[in-house]
Symmetry: C2
Subunit: 113 residues, 2 copies
DNA sequence: GACGATATGTCGACTGACTACTTATGCTGG
DNA sequence: CCAGCATAAGTAGTCAGTCGACATATCGTC
């Protein structure tokens, strides 16, 4: 899973949002670092919907225009948490920080560089 | 940076390795989860060399065949650590774990979303 | 001598992200 | 009053990176 996809799912953790709101939320969550282009967002939403990580939760008409809200499915939530675990472990390999609880003896930073 | 690229750099953290050794090291580091295809590895090494994250450190002849060893450059090491930081932060958004080491002495800040 | 491990490398296909563009409304300032 | 910005949803074309398959070569072993 690549970063934009990950952040789209993460943005929906707290509840369903519509497209534009996802863009804003991701920008906020990432400290302004990640700015999803609409092309990235909507193709990602289509893909995530097709694979069952996300689902369309509402289809309202606001000001004469459609507003689609997307939410995480159980599968999406599970996939997101699994991905977060993988990322944390991968990061630990480099940062040398031990796992918070139940640390598996991953070698600390090697002295030899 | 995508996962295979990240692991190639991470494998070189402890010192230079040749191509096949990188594949084995990555498999080991990731608990068998990541198996680099040779196509992925050698194109990644070419790309990383071109962008200055990796450099060819030796060109030995072993058993009549060339063996190329690659090592991290300072730029590569910096990029890798920066990436690990980003990944750790992104993971934290989902896992909800606070920053592990170094956070304790700062004293807990008020809840920042 | 066939096969698996070691070892390096190329090529074409595929996925996902990016840039750029389109359409449309509401609000605000000059 | 209309220019420009924020909001809002999308499409099309392109590009980068990964992957599977293939090619080649040596060494040990069965």
């Amino acid at each position: 899973m690549r970063e934009p996809t990950y952040f789209v799912l993460a943005a929906l953790l707290a509840g369903p949002l519509h497209g534009y709101a996802i863009i804003k939320r991701v920008e906020d969550m990432s400290g302004g670092r990640i700015r999803l282009a609409t092309g990235t967002l909507y193709t990602a939403l289509d893909r995530l919907t097709a694979e069952g990580s996300v689902r369309l939760v509402s289809d309202e008409i606001v000001n004469g225009r459609i507003r689609r809200s997307y939410g995480l499915t159980d599968a999406g939530s599970t996939a997101l948490r699994a991905e977060a675990q993988r990322m944390a472990e991968a990061a630990r390999l480099v940062t040398g920080e031990p796992a918070a609880a139940g640390a598996s003896r991953l070698g600390r930073k090697a002295r030899t560089a």
